[in-house]
Symmetry: C2
Subunit: 300 residues, 2 copies
């Protein structure tokens, strides 16, 4: 299927562009699709060059601008960078480059955590690289300099999700339908083990600082205990998106039919379809393979 240019539509009917290095950002797309049933989404997963965590900052910036340009050419009304690494490295340059608004996943999660915590002690579960970057600590303390942030490296959670989804070109149908798939004894034990450093710190709020982690919200919540609030960057980014579109009067009307499109830079569309449909919570009907070309011209 050829990429669609939707720039001829009135702005409010244009799709929301969502970009991630791979399939994790589909948790954000899912949250958007659930909260905004009349909005169309155009999703780009740069699966071929995933993960971005091992790339230089310059590479991540280039890749993000390529994906953003691709989405802008398709006529999106706003871009969501649904990837923590790309948000940390490339949000500012993307905002300076494109005419449409660009939001990331870090600030909304940080803001929700600041608003939620009563003990003013917040845990951040993220990949080891995101924790080391200190991006969430900065974002949280920019908003409230009195909040203590406890980073907890949890890259192993990504491995769990990727392993579960890499089990062939077809997922177990039980997994597909049941969001609590990850509540197995092994995952529950792992969640207890990984979150151990956060317990006993007085943390009352934990941010899921990786797009894969909303899939593991149940075992993480169980491990942290019922009194701890789990803040999902996917949900909070969606709330931010709604606020922007509402204020700009660019929400699709109730008469609009959502049409979601998905693009992947890897050639294995079937594998993207199977894992992606699981994460998105619905079959991905329209998937195309794309190449993200070289960056030709970008305004400073």
């Amino acid at each position: 299927m050829a990429a669609a240019d939707l720039g001829h539509l009135p702005v409010n009917r244009r799709p929301i562009g969502v970009f991630d290095s791979g399939i994790g950002g589909l948790t954000v797309a899912r949250a958007i699709a659930t909260a905004l049933p009349h909005e169309s989404i155009y999703y780009v997963g740069d699966t071929k060059r995933c993960p971005y965590g091992v790339r230089t900052q310059e590479e991540v910036r280039t890749f993000t601008l390529q994906a953003g340009s691709w989405l802008v050419e398709r006529g999106v009304k706003i871009i969501v960078i649904a990837c923590n690494t790309a948000t940390a490295s490339a949000l500012k340059v993307a905002q300076q480059t494109f005419d449409v608004p660009v939001i990331g996943v870090i600030a909304p999660g940080a803001r929700a955590a600041v608003h939620t915590t009563r003990t003013r002690r917040v845990g951040v579960l993220a990949t080891n690289l995101t924790v080391e970057s200190g991006a969430y600590t900065r974002a949280i303390q920019d908003l409230d300099a009195g909040v203590r942030v406890f980073g907890c490296p949890a890259s192993v959670f990504v491995d769990v999700v990727e392993d579960a989804l890499a089990s062939g070109d077809r997922l177990n149908q039980d997994w597909f339908d049941d969001r609590s798939v990850f509540m197995t004894p092994a995952v529950r034990g792992l969640a207890r083990q990984v979150t151990q450093p956060l317990r006993g710190q007085g943390v009352d709020t934990v941010v899921l600082g990786c797009t894969h982690f909303p899939l593991l919200a149940a075992p993480i919540h169980e491990a942290m205990g019922p009194d701890v609030r789990i803040v999902s960057s996917a949900e909070e980014t969606t709330a931010e998106l709604i606020e922007i579109l509402r204020r700009r009067e660019q929400l699709a009307g109730a008469d609009a039919l959502a049409r979601h499109r998905f693009a992947t830079t890897s050639e294995n569309i079937t594998s993207f379809a199977v894992a992606g449909s699981f994460i998105f919570g619905k079959p991905l009907r329209s998937i195309e393979h794309i190449e993200l070309g070289e960056l030709e011209e970008l305004r400073a």
Copy 2:
């Protein structure tokens, strides 16, 4: 009337602390009282040492911590720094000092402007000092590095309001009831003149970056034209406050009776009552004169 210690109340019944260098912050208190009719407000206006714009940053920090300590001792559940100068200079140190959350007026106004603008060109009307400080430009570009900010010095608007309110110990009752009091030919002409640098810049959103300015929203809006959105920091700070209390489950219930208290460091309570009642939009029934003592002990 003696200052009340309300720390014995359940948290959700405790008042919201609001602090300003003078009476301008009563526009914020008014927005809070209107949006949250069950919440009690404890307002401190440091009228004796007003305006803060001529003080050093160190003085503003000291005064803000004194007022904050006073409010914390009274048992407030949250502090709103309803003063642009104090927000720019002392928000971070206040957040690091007090156990209750502290919010300022700059970030909420900046955020609303970023969400509202379609042209991504935003005007900021503020005192000359606030414009020179660049605080709004930083706050806006932290959120969206692609938004251009046009600062417009408008200290003369403060003079208009102060002059109108300083006409004796009794205000004209017509003013008191009618919010459009400032739509006189003189003020409308002044608003056109002051906002002249913002016109022709493609600005589609203007932030009222001074607590006095919501009183002049009508002539400012008229001067900028119907297509320009006026963002009031007072309203946006209230929205932020609501979100924090909601997330923390600390909103007063629908059965709570609001009881507002006002404290001023100047000895002329009558003058505070007259001007304050005009700005607050209701008679200030409970006013006390207080001294903000020396800072004895503050945690780092």
